[in-house]
Structures are given as C-alpha cells and as structure tokens.
Amino acid sequence: MLIIDNLHVRVAGKDILKGLTLSVKAGEVHAVMGPNGAGKSTLGHVLAGRDDYEVTAGTVTYDGANLLALAPEERAAAGVFLAFQYPVEIPGVNNTYFLRAALNAQRKRRGEPELDSMQFLKLVRERLKVMQLSPDLLSRAVNEGFSGGEKKRNEIFQMAVLEPKLAILDETDSGLDIDALKQVADGVNALRAADRAFIVVTHYQRLLDYIVPDFVHVLADGRIVESGDRTLALKLEEHGYAWVAGRQPAASAA
C-alpha cells in the first residue's frame, strides 16, 4: 500500500528526514517511535502533503502511484488521513458542516454520489457510537474551545466518518489522561480492518498497550534505525532511546 524509499525532507532550511525507508501493507499497524526531534511529526505532515516541507530526495509510492505528486485534498480522496498532533481551531466553521463538506468533496473526487444531510446524519450517529464524543461538540466551531482530549477524539471521529485506507496518527496520545487514551485506542481499534493500514507515531510505549502494532520502528535523526515486532517497544521502554542512539540505520527496514 505504502512504500517510502530513502526519503529526505527539509523543513525551513533544515534537513529533518535523512533517508527514511518504510513499507506498509494493507491491514497492518506500524508504530513509529523515537525521541523528540527525530522527525516523527515531519513524516506525518509530508505524507499528508504540506507544501512547505521540501522533499529533496527519495520516493513515496501509494497504491502504485507517486503520492508526492498529489495535492493534500487529492491524497485525502485517495484515502490518506492524518490525525494531527495539534488539531487546528477554526472559528466560524461548524464542525458538522465542515465534515460533511470534506466527505462530499472526497466522494465527488472519487466519482461517488454525495451524501445528503439525512444520509450524513445517519452516518454521524453510527460513528458517534464508535467514538464517544459529546454531540454538542458537533454543533460547535471546528476544535474551537475543545479540551486537548476532545480535540484528539474529534480527530478519531473524523477518521471514523471519512474511512481512510491509510491513517497516520501523529502523537495522538500526547496530552491524554488514561481514560481519554483508552477511548481513543478503542476508536482506532474499532476501525482496524483488512483493507486499512495505520501508522501510529508516538513517543511513549503506553499507547501501544491499547493499540497493539504488528511492527515497531525506531526513528532517530531522520532515519529508521531499528525495526521489529511489538517487543521492540517494550525494550525501548526498558532501556530508553539512548539504547538506540548511535546505532546504524537498519540495513533494510521493512
């Protein structure tokens, strides 16, 4: 589904990703862990299409096509979703209106019929069961005045409505208490499917107790330096990131 090969990315004149290679198949959950400043958030944003992030080398192939050639909205319609670490507050834009406009824009681009307001409302009610979110948040402006936990749950709720094929969760666990963390994890687990892949970017092992990954990768200084199964996350928890510091990039991180 997704093949990242030797990706180099520069942000504001600084090299952040320096040869990142990662391959993700449908149905898989990959955790990407790493210390602060390793390039974790850059990975999510460059996959979602931020145009001020400069790709200086490497390729990203998604469903056989060059992902980097697509505009952010084209990537969204193709099934790429980024759950933001810091969801943006947008005063004056109603949450439900925005989500319906987004879903219909995606459907239109894919040549699917748009949902009318009744159909959309039905979908929203179904998805609300998956992600416990107070219905009054839906009638408010996008993320405006939401608590940190509400913002993160709103991201997962959006994901549940938009049903992406590749979801990237950028430090979705940061700033969450244990109850909110479980809610978010439940929401994600409910969406796990054979045709859907996840990249879970996180600093802490804690989230992976609830979203159990198939693969764990350690990102340090812009490269994947270690890959393994979920036990790698436990090792990291035990030894800290100093354990991988100074290791050579994994010969062929899969």
Binding site: A76, F98, A102
Partner: protein, 440 residues
C-alpha cells in the same frame, strides 16, 4: 468646469429642474438651484480632498451621463431577483432611480407605517419635507443628489408602532440606451418608541455602467429602534455613491448590517449623530472587492449625548486587484461623558495585488470615555488551510470556507436568521468568483 461630467450636468440639469417632482414649490426650486450652482462652481472633489483620498474620481470625471431614464417604467426586471429570504413585508422597488409600482408591494401596510414613493409625497405635501430638502449639502454628490433627486422613499413609523416584517427597499440598475445617472432620496422617520426593520438591496438587471446616488436621511425619535440590513450587489459596471445619515434622539438605537459585494466604484458614507443620552449605534459589515472593484465605506459617528454607545465591527476581504477602504471616524464631543465607542476592522488580503486601507480616527473631547479601536490586515491562516485540505476540501473551497468564517463575526448578530443565512450564502457565492479573478 471643463470636465465631461460637469459639462453634462450643466447642459442637462437646468432643463430638467422644471420637470422634477415638487417643481413649482418655491422653496424647493430655490434649494435645487442653489445646490446646482454650488455643484457647478466646485465640481467633483479634487484629489487633494482628504475625504476622497482613497477614492479617485478622475475616471468618472471624464464620463458624461444622460440624466435619468425616461424608459425606466418599461425596463425588464426579473421579479424573482427581488425575493429575499426573511424579507416578505412591504416592498418598494426603484429601477434606474424611478419608482416601479408594478414591482412593489404596498397593499395592506401594517398600522402605523406610512410608505410611499417620494415623488408622490413631493407632489402632495412638500412642506413636510422642507427640513430635509432645504438642508445644506456639503459634498459634491450630496449637492448633485439634492438638485436632481425627484424620486425615492418616504417612510414614517408612528410613535409606538412596531413594524416587524422588514420593509424592503430595492434599487435596481437596468440596461438603457446610454449610461445614465440616477439620483434617489430616502426619508425615514421613526416616531417615539417605534420599531422598524429595513432591508436595502442594490441589484442589477443586465449590463450597464450607470451612476447612481442615494441619500438617505434617517431620524429616530426618543426610544425608537431601527434594524437595517444592506445587501449591495450592484452590477459589475455600476458606480454607486450613497450617504446614509442617521440622527438619534435619547434612548434610540440603530443596528445595521452591511454586505458590500457589487459595483465597480462604490462608496457608502454612514454618518450617525447620537444627539441625546443613551443613544446607541451598532454597525456591522463586510466588504469584499475583487477584480478591479473599489469599495469604500466611511463611518462618521458623533457622540453628543451622555452615556451614548457606538460599536462598529467590520471585515474586509480583497482579492484580485480589488481595493477596499474603511474609514472609521468617531468623535466624542465635549460633555458627552460616559460614551462607549468601539471600532474593530479586520481584513484579509487574498492576492498580492489586492489592497485594503483601514483608517480609524478617534477624536475625544469628553471625560470618562471608554474607547477602543483595532485594525489588522492579514492573510489566510496556512495551518487552517492545510488542515481543511488534508480532510479533502479542494483549495478554493477551503479558502472560501475560511474567508466566510472570517466574515461571520460581522453577520452573526443579525437576528433575522433567513436573511442572515442568505447574506452568508451570497458572500460564499461571491468568493469563487474572487478566486477566478486572481488568475485573470
């Protein structure tokens, strides 16, 4: 006067005066002749005129307009275009400045509402309009209007009457044989403790490049309340110069909402005199010039009474080579203690060639005054834009959504919900056109 504009006025006005409604009333004839003489003496404002600093009239000066539209009664206007959500009350329609009874709706006026064409009123009881028509005019367009306006609106609300269904005033420009100048006047009087909702609409019925001037005199007696909504969608070639002059007695309150979208060169001067204690003037508005549109709004708010309040909140959005101007002057006179004056103007530039000039001018001569003003000019938030696009919204749709959201604060206070949503929808519809103009 050597320019084409003034020459045309000089050649046509004198012959027109004897045929204007109200002609033959000695004081009115005198006033009109005096205004004409003053206009011909001074002409249009020069570039050095501070009040016209941001709006050049040099191109207008080179144009000669025919005076009025003899065929106005026969101009085709789509009645459907006059339908406004939330405005199903009485309606007065003017085409190229002339009253059109066939398009208007004046049956079954509610008790306490007097509403008629000004031409009819002048022919009947000119004396009651003497104060308004006899007043001095200082501005060149005011003079022109005072000389040549023969039609318009006379609206009176009796003391204590509440006119809930908005009165709809529509000014429509329609194609004629030549580009013409029309001049209309509205006289609006609210009696003590009365209440009135009003919608002023400017639209067009086909391509034209007319000049229209509209002077509205609005008088509120003690405790009167007025809710006024402007929807300005004049034709793309139109020049429209308006003055709305409000005078408020004690405890009177005006709330206005304006959406300025149309026209080539449009200026709206809003003057409000808070003559007595606790008068209150709230203005909210959005101006959105695109292409080569020039849209100017001028506020001149004067606090004279004690404990008066004014609150102005305006949003500007300029795209293409559009130019927007907001001049906000607030004066708190000596003795107007306890005044509360707020002015906020935030602006968005959607293209590198667009320009917005925002000029707050506060003059305070009283004590214990609360006054604040803020003005900003910026661009759309890139982070918000990326967030919306990452969810699938195309760039143009994301821009339009954020732009409408930026403007909502100026429209949200409008109580008439169907009208409010109509304004928001008109604004949203205007925006993709803005985006198209950028490429042009």
């Amino acid at each position: 006067m050597s320019n084409a504009f003034a020459v045309a006025v000089g050649e046509t006005a004198a012959a027109t005066l004897p045929h204007l409604p109200g002609a033959g009333v000695a004081w009115l004839d005198d006033a009109r002749r005096a205004h004409l003489a003053a206009f011909l003496r001074d002409g249009l404002p020069a570039a050095r005129n501070e009040a016209w600093k941001y709006t050049s009239l040099r191109a207008l000066e080179q144009r000669a307009f025919a005076l009025g539209d003899a065929g106005a009664a026969a101009r085709a206007v789509d009645a459907q275009a006059l339908v406004l959500p939330g405005a199903d009350g009485p309606r007065l329609v003017f085409v190229n400045g002339a009253f059109r009874a066939d398009l208007s709706r004046l049956d079954d006026l509610p008790d306490g509402l007097e509403l008629q064409s000004l031409a009819v009123a002048l022919a009947g009881d000119a004396e009651s309009l003497r104060e308004v028509f006899g007043a001095t005019a200082t501005d060149a367009f005011d003079r022109l209007n005072a000389t040549l306006a023969g039609d318009g609106v006379l609206l009176r609300v009796a003391a204590g009457a509440r006119i809930a269904a908005p009165v709809h005033l529509a000014y429509i420009g329609a194609p004629a044989v030549a580009d013409l100048a029309w001049h209309a006047r509205a006289v609006i009087e609210l009696g003590e403790d009365s209440e009135l909702a009003l919608v002023e609409q400017h639209g067009d019925a086909g391509p034209h490049a007319h000049l229209g001037t509209l002077v509205s005199d609005i008088r509120l007696q003690r405790g009167a309340r007025l809710h006024w909504t402007f929807l300005q969608e004049a034709g793309p070639g139109a020049t429209l110069i308006r003055r709305s002059a409000f005078r408020l007695a004690a405890d009177a309150a005006v709330t206005l909402h304006a959406l300025e979208l149309g026209g080539a060169l449009v200026r709206h001067a809003i003057t409000a005199v808070l003559e007595a204690d606790r008068a209150r003037f709230v203005s909210r508005g959005v101006f959105a010039p695109a292409g080569r549109q020039h849209l100017e709004t001028r506020l001149d708010i004067r606090h004279l009474g004690r404990d008066t309040a004014s609150d102005a909140l305006w949003r500007g959005v300029a795209d293409g080579r559009g130019r927007g101007v907001l001049h906000g002057a607030i004066t708190v006179a000596a003795g107007a203690d306890g005044a509360d004056a707020q002015l906020s103007n935030k602006n968005l530039l959607l293209s590198a060639q667009a320009e917005i000039d925002t000029q707050p001018v506060l003059e305070i001569h009283a004590d214990e005054v609360k006054a604040s003003h803020g003005a900003t000019v910026g661009q759309l938030d890139e982070r918000a834009l990326f967030y919306l696009r990452s969810r699938g919204l195309p760039l143009e749709q994301a821009r339009a959504l954020l732009t409408v959201a930026f403007c909502r604060a100026a429209l949200d206070g409008l109580d008439n919900a169907p009208l409010r949503e109509h304004l928001a929808a008109r604004l949203a519809q205007h925006l993709p056109r803005l985006a198209g103009d950028v490429e042009a």
